[in-house]
């Protein structure tokens, strides 16, 4: 065709959302330049220019055109390089609708519940939250059994849209198990998902893309310390403010 494809990906190594385009690009054997952003420091000019509305990663820049939102990026990659590698989205509109539904469930309901339960200081809220997360996993287990029909992935023989979406969180689940002893991927409760998770992590397109569990566990530990420090600082500051005369 003669047109040089210039593909850039802006991300951060620890973000499950940034893992998604990496897997998709691997599935399609697309070469790209990766740029690691420093979200705790200062965001790059390129990021601010490409995603002025949300200023978030990941951002895919294809021939200078930015594509935003991780699942949109995956769909774009699937369409744009549709002659290369396996189809990421199913071909039948009903199966596509199902894949999009379950991904939206993971992103809009399940993971936010896990995040909220992880951050909250209230034991009651944490317990309630974790019940919701476990309940969500049971629903995903049922969905997996029904959709995969005995094959290794949601997408069948090869990794597909839903595998990429949920799979991007497997690292965090395993890291939390290491850090907190919290076993969400419990063989007695979600046996098919546990098998699927191991299959996902050992797939060629995923190996070397998903960060090492130990590294993620260390990062999550640091995040917790940082969050605690910020929370302590805020408490201290409001104590001094209300006891104005003590200082």
């Amino acid at each position: 065709m003669g047109e040089t494809e210039e593909v850039k990906l802006l991300g951060v190594w620890y973000s499950p959302y940034a893992i998604r385009p990496k897997i998709a690009l691997r599935l399609k054997s697309v070469d790209y330049d990766y740029f690691e952003e420093d979200l705790f420091g200062s965001k790059s000019e390129l990021l601010l220019k490409s995603n002025p509305v949300h200023k978030k990663v990941p951002v895919l820049i294809h021939n200078n055109k930015p594509i935003l939102e991780s699942l949109n990026i995956v769909e774009y990659i699937d369409e744009r390089w549709n002659t290369s590698g396996p189809s990421i989205l199913p071909s039948h509109p009903h199966d596509r609708a199902q894949a999009r539904f379950w991904s939206a469930f993971v992103d809009d309901k399940w993971f936010p519940a896990l995040k909220a339960a992880a951050i909250t200081k209230s034991e009651e809220a944490k317990e309630k939250g974790m019940k919701e997360v476990e309940g969500g996993l049971l629903q995903l287990e049922e969905a997996f059994v029904s959709i995969s029909k005995g094959k290794p992935f949601f997408g069948g023989e090869a990794i597909g849209f839903m595998d990429i979406c949920l799979g991007s969180f497997v690292g965090i689940l395993k890291a939390r198990e290491k850090l907190k002893g919290e076993k969400l991927l419990d063989e007695t409760k979600v046996p098919s998902l546990c098998k699927w998770a191991d299959q996902f992590l050992s797939d060629d397109t995923v190996k070397n893309v998903v960060p090492e569990i130990d590294k993620v566990a260390e990062f999550l530990g640091e995040l917790e310390v940082r969050a605690q420090l910020i929370s302590d600082f805020k408490n201290l500051r409001s104590t001094f403010k209300s006891n104005g005369r003590v200082m």
Partner: protein, 220 residues
């Protein structure tokens, strides 16, 4: 093969309006079943959408599809022979999906605050609401529709909210008109389409519904 298309909906839902408009744009015959969400969800709804138990639900030949944006994409893919709703170009399609996501994540939550909160929270919500509309207005630019010359996906995703704008402004006691007049013009333009005019409720009726909600949940 006889196509059986059922839509489970609730008349004030700005999400259900999307699916109705999409079906009408594609001239698809469907059966509309009105749900009574405040009092009694039907067994069909609970069975078709066990995860969220919400409307709209599209049931095509017995198979349910949930979530309005996913339904509009589905309708566009199944009835692909007329009135394409999403752009053919993958980059433009990604753009359209981005704006649909922006509308879903920002507008609904903020809009709700204009009638469900008061004091400082309300003031913040009003400011944010106008900023969201201005962002959308800026994306619209000088085009007649978000998709360009033809009514399409992003227009469908946003237009349901247009029937709620008067109520938001009434209860929040503010006006979007001076800063967002171009967007309001876009709304009027969309209302000229039969698919939209027959799918959006009267804003007065929406205001009445909000009063009902406020009484029911004890919101002043």
């Amino acid at each position: 093969m006889a196509e059986e298309v059922i839509l489970l909906n609730f008349w004030p839902s700005m999400f259900g309006m999307r699916t109705m408009i999409a079906l009408k744009e594609k001239e698809v015959k469907y059966e509309h079943k009105e749900e009574d969400l405040l009092n009694n969800k039907s067994p069909l709804l609970l069975e078709s959408n066990p995860i969220y138990k919400k409307v709209p639900v599209l049931i095509h030949n017995g198979k349910p599809i949930c979530e309005s944006v996913i339904q509009v994409q589905y309708i566009d893919e199944i009835w692909s022979d007329k009135n394409p709703l999403l752009p053919k170009d993958s980059y433009q399609r990604a753009q359209a999906l981005f704006w649909a996501d922006f509308i879903d994540k920002k507008l609904y939550v903020c809009g709700r605050k204009t009638w469900a909160t008061k004091g400082e929270e309300l003031e913040e919500a009003k400011k944010e609401f106008i900023e969201i509309l201005k962002t959308l207005q800026s994306e619209l630019g000088d085009k007649p529709y978000f998709g360009g010359d033809t009514f399409g996906f992003v227009d469908i995703v946003l237009i349901g909210f247009y029937s709620w704008f008067p109520a938001y402004q009434k209860f929040g006691n503010f006006s979007v008109e001076p800063e967002c007049s171009k967007l309001m013009d876009w709304g009027k333009r969309c209302m000229e389409r039969e698919s939209v005019a027959t799918s959006l409720p009267d804003p007065e009726r929406v205001a009445g519904y909000i009063l009902q909600l406020k009484k029911r949940y004890g919101i002043e």
